[in-house]
Symmetry: C2
Subunit: 242 residues, 2 copies
Amino acid sequence: MSESDTTREKIIVAARERFSHYGYPKTTIAELAEDCAMSPGNIYRFFKGKIDIAVEIARREALSAVEVIEAVLDCPLRSSRQRLEEVVFADLRYTFHLLENQPKTLELAQIVVSDRPQFQIESLRRERRVFQRILHEGQASGEFMVDNVPATTIALHAATTKYRYAQLFTNQTLAELERELAHVMTVIMRGLMPTSEGHAVAETQIPDETTALSFAASAVAASDTENRNENEMKTGTEEVSS
Amino acid sequence: MSESDTTREKIIVAARERFSHYGYPKTTIAELAEDCAMSPGNIYRFFKGKIDIAVEIARREALSAVEVIEAVLDCPLRSSRQRLEEVVFADLRYTFHLLENQPKTLELAQIVVSDRPQFQIESLRRERRVFQRILHEGQASGEFMVDNVPATTIALHAATTKYRYAQLFTNQTLAELERELAHVMTVIMRGLMPTSEGHAVAETQIPDETTALSFAASAVAASDTENRNENEMKTGTEEVSS
DNA sequence: TCAGTGAATAATTTATTGATTGTTCATTCT
DNA sequence: AGAATGAACAATCAATAAATTATTCACTGA
C-alpha cells in the first residue's frame, strides 16, 4: 500500500515536470514510464488513463490555490472586511501570475475541465467556502449586515468572476485590474456593511502584496511538503447551496 | 455613391444570410458574388477582405444590441434603480437567447474579436455608456449616492461580467442565472443607495420579461428597417474614462 | 499472489497531397 | 472615365496515408 503510493507519486512528479515543460499533449506515456524506470503498461496499474494523471495534478493545484487563499483566514488581527478584500485580491494576483508564468497550467486546466466539467464546479465551490466563512464571521461580529449569507456568498463570488484568471476576459494589466477591483469592492462593501448614520463606508484600498501573502506563502510551503493526504479538509461551515 | 451603397448593402444582406445559416468559414466569396449576381472580384471594391464583411455585420449586431438595452432608458415612469436592474437583466436575457438560438452569431463574434481585439473593447465601452447615463441620472436625482460616477460605472459593469454571454462561463440555466443576478444586484444596490436610517434597501426582484423589453423590442424593430446610417449615435453623457 | 513487462492493437496525431478558396490585376464593358 | 469581369496566383482547407501514441493483456519473475 505505502509502496504503491510512492510509485504513484513518482509518476505524478514525472508528469508534472513534463506537463509543465512540454505540455500535456506532447508528453507520452512511454516518456513518463521511462522517467520512472518502468514499462508503459505499469502506469495503468496506478491511473485509469493519461487524462487521470492530469486530473490528479490539477486537483492538487486547485487545492493548493485554495490553501493560499485560506491562509488569509489564519492571519490574525484583521477585520472581516480586510479579510474579504485580501482574499479577493489574492485570488486576482495568484491566478494572474499563474497564467503569466505557467501558461501550461492553464492548458492543463482547460483539458481537464473539457473532459470533466464537474472539476470546475467543485473548484469554484471550494473557493466559495472561503468567502462564506468570512461572511459568516463578519455577520456574527456585527461587522456585516447580510440577511442571506449563502445567497450573498454566491453573489460576491459571481461579482468577482472577472478577477479570476482575468487574462481570459481582458488584456488589461495587473495594475489596472487592481484599481478596478478596488472600485468593485468599494461598492460591494457599502452593500454589505451597516452604515452608522452620517459617515459613509470608506473606499477600498488596494492591499499590499506582501502583507497577507508572505504569511500565506510560508504557511503553504510548510504544509506542502508534509501532510499530503487524499482526504478533503474539514470545512467548518455549512455548504453553499447549489 | 448612393448606387454603390445599395450594392454594398446587397453584399451584407447576402453575407448575413449565409453566415447565419452555414457559418463564416463555410461561406465563400464566390457564393456571395453569385447571390449578388456579380463576380468575386467585384466584392473587393466594397470590402477590403472577407473578414471585413464579418466585421461590418458584427458591428451592426453590437449596435442593435445596445439599442435594445438603451430602449429601457426611454421607458417612462421608472426609478434609476429599476432602470439599472432592467438594463442588466435585459443584457443577461438578450445575450443568453442570442447564444441559444443563433450559435453562428457567437462564432462570428469570436472570429471578429480574435482578428480585431479593438472591436470587443469598443462594444464594451458602448455598453458602459448606458450604465453611466443611468448612474448619472440617479446621482442627480439623489436616488444614488456615488462619489465617483465613472469609476463606479466600470465597477458595475465588471461585477456583472458573468451575466453577459453567460454560457461562456457556466452551464447554469437562465432561471438560475436570473436568481443569482438578483442577489448580485441586491448587494450592489445597497452599495449605491443612501440608507435612510432604520429601513434597509429592499432586495432586487427579478423583473418581468415583458415589461420593458416588449417596449424595447418594438422600438428597435422600428428603427431597424429605417434609419440605418453609418454614424455613431450621439452619446449625451461624457465618456467613461479608460 | 502480486508488481511489473512489452508486444499487439486501437485510437489519435501528424505529414502529405490535391482541391478549394481568398485575393489581385490586366482586361473588357458601358 | 468608372464599373465590372474572370483568369491567375497564393493561401488555406480537406482527405488520405503514414507514423505515433494510448491502452490492453497474456505473460514473467519475485
